[in-house]
Point group: C2
Chain length 293, copies 2
Amino acid sequence: MSAQQLVGVIGRGVFPAGHLVISADDLGFTRGDGCFDATRVVTRAGGSSTVENLDAHFDRFDASIVGVGGDPINRDAWRETIDQALSQWTSPGEAVLKIMYSNGQETQTLGAGADRPTEVFTLTQMSAGNIADRAGVEVITLNRGMSSTAFADAPWLLGGVKSLAYAVNIAAKREAHRRGAGDVLFTSSDGYVLEAPTSALVALIDGVLVTTPIEGTGILNSITQRMVFAAAEAEGYTTDQLLMTPAQVIDGDGAWFLSSVRGVVPILSLDGTALPLHSDLTERLRRWARFTD
Amino acid sequence: MSAQQLVGVIGRGVFPAGHLVISADDLGFTRGDGCFDATRVVTRAGGSSTVENLDAHFDRFDASIVGVGGDPINRDAWRETIDQALSQWTSPGEAVLKIMYSNGQETQTLGAGADRPTEVFTLTQMSAGNIADRAGVEVITLNRGMSSTAFADAPWLLGGVKSLAYAVNIAAKREAHRRGAGDVLFTSSDGYVLEAPTSALVALIDGVLVTTPIEGTGILNSITQRMVFAAAEAEGYTTDQLLMTPAQVIDGDGAWFLSSVRGVVPILSLDGTALPLHSDLTERLRRWARFTD
């Protein structure tokens, strides 16, 4: 069966696109009080599918859930409903599995979901926009308003938590589109580059593959970046974590956004200045990220 | 008919508590990409209800919606569905009307909500916690991580927008409860008091009623604070907007949290230091906020 989207409700089953599964007082909707994670699903010609790095995404999902006050998920229950969706998902190509958790209904004593968290996922055909981005994007910097040390010892700021409260990330992308760019590189109030709204930054500077440190900056712990750095190190590359200015990125030898969904996205320009394209390394990064199929 | 919660879907009608009205790919759920507003509903002995300051809340709701890229609402359509809910809501007492908007389904070409925003509300009995808070709360300061000028010229940070992405506000309240306090007063990274997660701050300092300025700080434009200041000025009080430190609040002659739902909440202590209680002024603030019934 071919479909553009399937919706899973853990423990309840799989539903068609647009099925209403969330109440109006769900804390995920009313407050963004929850979290998510997302990864790529690859479906082969015969109709069988592989979910990429599901355990690594479950690990990060659990860490996010604990960050918003919840308990780790029952992975067997999640796998069972995901498998049920995959068995109905047979069109060859790429899709996105987005797993979502919220702290349940605000008025916990009311309704069917009382005292239970909300656990749902969507399985959606990879968008044309995500595929087009792999050729490269024009990027602008936007100030995220917080210093590169703001998140140290401030767990209530939810640094590193992939929370459902992504409105600023979406508003920043909207601002980029308004300015004719394709994506955003957030900067800290003290002038360092952080991450993109839905991707990590990797740059090649003086022969070293560098990314933003997590500690203090509140950025997400990128699964794709970690996988790429591990593979790069195994092939003799040097890697590092470094607070960089936009000028350092522009003066470097190439920069990329990495994400589990979009894969490896070369940054074509930053604030209007063209960046060096390093197509050899782009191909290597894709191989290390396992995005070559 | 008595009920603890009713759910309204604009243009579709009124449903019982827990009714599922939101899809799993609704941008309000997946990203917090939407906004809300909330006000008090007072139901009299005969069963008729008054929604407090609905137009002022519609005004701020529209400003929030524009802030997240949407168009102002059709107030007649909203009023019609709200009236339908009020006609079923006859138990005397207080309730909360929470109006919510999201930018619709993420996968806009799929499902029933295609190309439409999501417009829903809940009408919920006032919680015991909100009523208890009116006797006063113990408050801790928590750093919001952003300077008091961070929001100037940075609309993508959604300053003043009452967005659905309130996860940090909820996490901060969770941190307060963990520390044995009842509420939070956010501070800026440069050391000024801002607002509470769901309330504005008003303090009496040197005989002047003061609140945090909106410009640059990103705080919400409080309807209750504006109403209170207008009434106070009419009775000869002096009011001002001022960036204050926590020490200035502690050394002042009293401080309160104001909100359309909780009304006037005296701050009993700030970071463990008792604040002066000014019960005469508390009663005046309640009258000015029209919370004396």
